[in-house]
């Protein structure tokens, strides 16, 4: 129950931060961080898959509604939530279909390299699909690529900073 509440609170805070602050950042004219992805990254892996998809869909929809890009983030988030278990399995190097409660994708549980790769791969999936859906063209592909890479780098940096600043110390000691 406590877990559910903390997750909800995290979703709320990160979505508000995304909508009020991050959405309006436009570094060098094209780099916008997707901070709200952190809430999806930290979602417990043992949740039913269909619930995870629905959460991804809803989160994407809220972000889309405020960014006037209906469908873009929604699709990208749902896709990302679908691929997430496979990425975790790949990073763990096991083929175990069941995730234990101990297997949380959080700092303190996993080492930094794991978290970095996990964040990088999932952010890349989100940004590539979102930017491609948003531009909907292959014209000027160089710039599109620049936007994708810029967004990925900026998002990953912001997400990792927030994640490591706010993660509870006690878990590290235990």
């Amino acid at each position: 129950m406590n877990n559910v509440l903390s997750n909800l609170l995290r979703f709320l805070l990160l979505l508000v931060a995304q909508i009020t602050i991050c959405q309006h950042i436009c570094l060098f004219g094209y780099m916008t961080p997707a901070l709200f992805l952190l809430a999806l990254f930290l979602l417990p892996l043992e949740l039913p898959l269909s619930l995870q998809y629905i959460i991804g869909f809803a989160t994407g929809f809220v972000v889309d509604a405020f960014a006037h890009t209906l469908g873009v983030s929604t699709f990208a988030c749902t896709l990302m939530m679908f691929l997430r278990p496979y990425i975790v399995r790949m990073l763990n190097g096991t083929n175990n279909n069941k995730f234990e409660n101990i297997d949380r994708p959080e700092p303190g549980v996993k080492d930094f390299r794991w978290i970095l790769l996990y964040t990088l791969i999932l952010t890349s999936i989100y940004q590539i699909s979102a930017v491609l859906l948003e531009t909907m063209t292959v014209r000027n592909f160089g710039h599109t690529l620049l936007v994708i890479i810029g967004n990925i780098v900026f998002s990953v940096v912001v997400i990792l900073c927030i994640e490591f600043i706010f993660h509870p110390r006690t878990k590290n000691e235990a």
Binding site: S50, G60, T74
Partner: protein, 282 residues
């Protein structure tokens, strides 16, 4: 039958995934199509008010620069709509046209600038304000000071970077004014130590003054251009002095929250003043 249920249990999340992905694709298609706004409108009707209040908050931080831009625009508008001109013979045009008739040109009588009030008093008997521009910015003694609402005062002292303004709220303040529609000239003075109220004196008793009549500057003083708003009539009394009315007026300027003021320079003031001085001497 059991197999089917098993299959559904296993494939349930795939079905959910497919439905959600198709839904988002449909949404994307709807938002891209140019003739079907129903979905975006429905979303906007929910999101719009939230975004509006959010932007209001962000806007607060940008008010400073925007205010400066608006003040600049106001100065431009004042210059444009100012109809105080001297009509003079345009010697060059008259010569060039080689005709007997003389051509005229308009010469601007007043110029405008602005400043910000950095200190003010309103609750004393001898009130004053200090603005953040001085002789370095071309501010001179006896320039008229206007608030966004109307007449505010007169510059009485100038240093290099600052200037002192004597507001209407000062016993020595005297502004010649005309009350419309009676069209009677009088003088606005301040007596009651109330920053909202002043007196209009020297209006003959026979004139028909109603509550709510407007009081404007009449341009006799060489300081204020003609037709600037001073205030509205609040009370009309037959005074002790039998020949004049005692008229209380509500001042237009809100001295409590005055910040940006406009300064008016009479470009011919020195010339006019020297004429007046001669007149006094004789």
């Amino acid at each position: 039958m059991n197999n089917l249920i098993e299959f559904f249990k296993k494939a349930f999340h795939i079905i959910v995934l497919a439905v959600l992905l198709i839904l988002s694709i449909v949404m994307l298609g709807k938002s891209l199509s140019f003739n079907d706004y129903r979905l975006s409108r429905a979303v906007q009707s929910i999101v719009g008010p939230i975004q509006k209040s959010g932007m209001g908050m962000v806007h607060r931080f940008r008010l400073g620069p925007e205010n400066e831009a608006l003040v600049q625009q106001n100065i431009e508008l004042m210059r444009t709509f100012d109809n105080m001109f001297l009509i003079k013979e345009d010697t060059i045009l008259t010569e060039m046209s080689k005709l007997d008739s003389t051509h005229t040109k308009q010469v601007r009588l007043y110029d405008y600038t602005y400043a910000h009030v950095i200190f003010k008093t309103t609750d004393r008997t001898f009130n004053y304000m200090i603005v953040d521009k001085g002789s370095n910015d071309g501010i001179m003694r006896d320039m008229a000071v206007l608030s966004p609402q109307g007449v505010a005062g007169v510059v009485t002292d100038v240093s290099q970077n600052f200037a002192t303004v004597r507001p209407i709220l000062h016993p020595e303040s005297r502004i010649s004014a005309v009350v419309t529609p009676a069209n009677q000239n009088g003088t606005v003075i301040w007596e009651d130590n109330d920053p909202r109220v002043a007196y209009l004196e020297a209006i003959p008793q026979h004139s028909e003054i109603n509550i709510g009549d407007s009081v404007f500057t009449n341009g006799f003083s060489n300081i204020f251009p003609k037709g600037l708003f001073i205030g509205t009539v609040k009370e009309v009394q037959v005074g002790n002095n039998a020949s004049f009315l005692t008229i209380k007026i509500n001042l237009a300027t809100h001295y409590s929250d005055i910040y940006t003021v406009y300064l008016v320079e009479n470009l011919f003031k020195a010339e006019l003043d020297s004429l007046k001085a001669n007149f006094k001497d004789e």
